[in-house]
Point group: C2
Chain length 212, copies 2
Amino acid sequence: MKPLRRCVIERLPRYYHFVERLIADEGQATVSSSRLGEPLGVDDTLVRHDLAAIGVRGQPKVGYRCQEILDAIRTVLGYDRPVPAVLIGAGHLGTALASYPGFAERGLSVVGVFDNDPARIGQPTGGVRVQPADALPAVVAEHQVRLAILTVPASAAQAVADQLIGLGVDTIWNFSPCTLAVPERVVVRNELLSVGLAEVTYAIHKRERSDA
Amino acid sequence: MKPLRRCVIERLPRYYHFVERLIADEGQATVSSSRLGEPLGVDDTLVRHDLAAIGVRGQPKVGYRCQEILDAIRTVLGYDRPVPAVLIGAGHLGTALASYPGFAERGLSVVGVFDNDPARIGQPTGGVRVQPADALPAVVAEHQVRLAILTVPASAAQAVADQLIGLGVDTIWNFSPCTLAVPERVVVRNELLSVGLAEVTYAIHKRERSDA
DNA sequence: TAGATTGTTAATCGATTAACAATC
DNA sequence: TAGATTGTTAATCGATTAACAATC
């Protein structure tokens, strides 16, 4: 299968979500492309394109088998091949992420949570205890960790990222409000709250203007 | 000014971020389009298009004035016209959001935090105390709240959304892992962790395959 | 069968990039 | 002046949607 485009990858977890609930709540065994696209606001043709891209085929007049969709997405996104990750920063956000059950269901295994605040060290977070930063190298080496989740203050993010990259981490999921400078081989995904905030507030201001 | 496209709106906060730091860290008064695009990974031409769209003009051979960029983005995104918002769900994620200083700086004013867990009621979170859900209608009415931030469990999200919409809320920033059914006039932005997760794990699996 | 729905190619749309003149 | 950089139109690219034949 050729590599999937980014936009397709972003829709797959949402299809997965919806189909999971369709099975659980309504006991549906099949779903049509239009039904599947509706909650995401996407055209039925686009759904068919996406499903074709991950090798799921439907049946005219019937639709797509729910279980087949789930299995294909699981395989494509690697939900069944756990990826070990370390989480740096055990504040509220880090704790929320470490406790999120969706991670384990989707193949992410948080093997260590780290923080430098003595008050937080030893606290249980999502199944593991918070460790001091100097325990990081051993954990990364032991589990051959490539992925780090960054929930530290912006002021610390670059230094932590540099350390992680030095230890062999090559993928960073960054929740700190800052843009990291990294070598080209390192993949960074930034989750910037201010981006979502911009969208919702712009939407409000725009309607205020048109109301007036 | 004509409405901005969504993709532009998503880049503006990131430009803002970068220019803020440029002033603070390096004391730069001007910045070129190529310099501004680099940390975001966007072409210099695209930066010029974006800045033109928000009415910022540069000077050949010199660049754009940093302060002018900040002012224009502030105005366009409404950072200086505070939007009142309620936050529902005072778990770790809700607490993290309520305490995020970036909200106030960007025109979001959290006027109430709500939760149904008696253990959480009365706790201070980001400057305000957690209130029980039955206090919600009065707060929404008093501040004429249009925006709600949802950090409740997925199982409660739809019911809470319905209640909010009934109270006059027409914009929902949804952090619950579920797709909400809402009337057409209501704007919803979903922040789904599983979308970001899909991207990072797919990136890892893809490189694993090419390594092998 | 008739009708619903898939599968796929072609057309459209929108966003990004290229090209290049204008300008300081 | 020469060179760097903007501003803007045109070209390209990629994603979405339309059209429609295939199929159960």
